[in-house]
Amino acid sequence: MSSLKQIRFLLGKDLRIELRKKESLVAMAFFGALILVLMNIASGVGKQVDVESGAGILWVAILFSSVLGMGRVFAREKENGCVAALLISPISPGEVFIAKALVNFSLMLLSQLILVPVFFVLFGTNFSGGPIALIPILLLVNLGFSSAGTLISSISAGTRRNEVLLPILLFPLILPLTALAVKATAGALAARPLSELSGQLEPMIAFCLIYSAAGYLLFPFSIKED
């Protein structure tokens, strides 16, 4: 089977399990929405927030909720030693990495389909930019976050403190991407054109490439016992 087919096949398996159980997706969407509601209450219900604060609130909700699902995707693979079964199969660790990163990417995207509208309902009355302008920023962060997250969750899933270790290791790693995303989002919420956001989007692309390449290259070492 070609690499592409293997990856598609692994991705299909994980999405089938996720859609059957819905445990990661429901947890991510619910927790993210809860953060947004709490932030709305904290900033004063009905009061307007500026674009910078709004962007920060959106990304706190997305990233904190995404970590929940990310930890679960790899923990499931470690149950009953399934990850060892993948490692002794003809599929390469690099293909496993790509498939897992795509699962995380998909879960983030699906939860954002709920969180972004909730965000605009709660905070969006004074933003001149709409949700469509956020799409390139969301896609880039999803790519970088899911690549780095897949690598880190492959390390943390084998530990007893998975839920604690994953965010502690992951958030510092993606800090540059997050900072750029918040700034770009603030620009998008202020309805600045995409060309004006290139100062943030271009380094975000570079960070995504770095996280993806590093994840792909380091994954075989992080996933093995020795």
């Binding site: 089977m1 293997q6 096949f9 398996k13 089938r16 399990i17 059957r20 159980k21 499931r76 149950e79 009953n80 030693g81 399934c82 060892a84 079964a85 993948l86 490692l87 002794i88 199969s89 003809p90 599929i91 390469s92 093995k224 016992e225 020795d226």
Partner: protein
């Protein structure tokens, strides 16, 4: 993988493995011909599971080499792994997939031509056809064990590794495993099993070995072994620890 005349199917030379300061394997040499069934006995901590994990490419040796015919396992792993099957302490089953889906998943992963057909065949062989659509999580322990055996055979492996396969098996699952091993052995598949269970190990194997303190201290064809003296030798190794 086919046997070339005169060359060993599996050869292990000078194999050592250390975890930090702990030496799990201290120089193992072994050669097996295609179709041999080796049963390795040894106490806890003897290095049995480590040896199997190295052969399965789950671990890299500290020094030494493992070759299956001319494949260096750690240089050309994918082709080798397509011919490998393993029954481990863990089931390797996805709890949220059905019995049939689990087998289809692994069959497809191994590039089996008709994965659905192969999965149904295996379910029949392990008497689980009626439970094909039951989630693995909802199967009884004995049924999960039979499904685990079926999973290991999904690619009709040339080399089968078994790590304490009889531990915790109910009588039905044990008899299914014994039958499947006999079928594989009659079809010239090479099998390496590590176990504590002398009776189970000796009833199926063609060669017997004892691994103690990371070294292969005994290796002999079963036909040349007197069961009573072998048992005495094995228990002497246990007492020496």
């Amino acid at each position: 993988m086919t046997e070339s005349s005169g060359s060993a199917f599996l050869s292990i030379s000078g194999l050592k493995k250390s975890y930090g300061g702990l030496e799990a394997l201290r120089g193992v040499d072994l050669a097996l011909q295609q179709g041999e069934f080796l049963c390795l006995f040894g106490p806890n901590g003897a290095g049995k599971s480590t040896l199997l994990k190295i052969i399965a490419t789950l671990l890299r040796p500290s020094t030494g080499q493992v070759k299956v015919l001319d494949f260096d396992l750690h240089e050309q792993p994918e082709k080798y792994r397509a011919q490998l099957g393993m029954v481990s302490h863990q089931s390797f089953l996805y709890q949220d997939l059905t019995a049939l889906e689990n087998l289809e998943f692994y069959a497809t992963l191994y590039g089996v031509e008709q994965p659905h057909k192969r999965a149904l065949e295996l379910l029949e062989q392990v008497n689980l056809t009626a439970r094909a659509d039951t989630l693995a999580a909802n199967l009884s322990r004995g049924m999960q064990q039979r499904l685990t055996i079926a999973r290991a055979l999904v690619n009709d492996p040339s080399l089968l590794l078994l790590d304490e396969p009889y531990t915790g098996l109910d009588e039905h699952a044990a008899s299914v495993l014994r039958d499947q091993l006999q079928i594989l052995h009659s079809r010239k598949r090479t099998i390496i099993m590590v176990t504590h269970n002398l009776r189970r190990g000796m009833e199926s194997a063609t060669r017997l070995g004892i691994l103690a303190k990371g070294k292969l201290v005994y290796l002999q064809e079963k036909s040349k072994v007197d069961p009573t003296s072998f048992e005495e030798l094995y228990f002497r190794q246990l007492e020496a620890l």
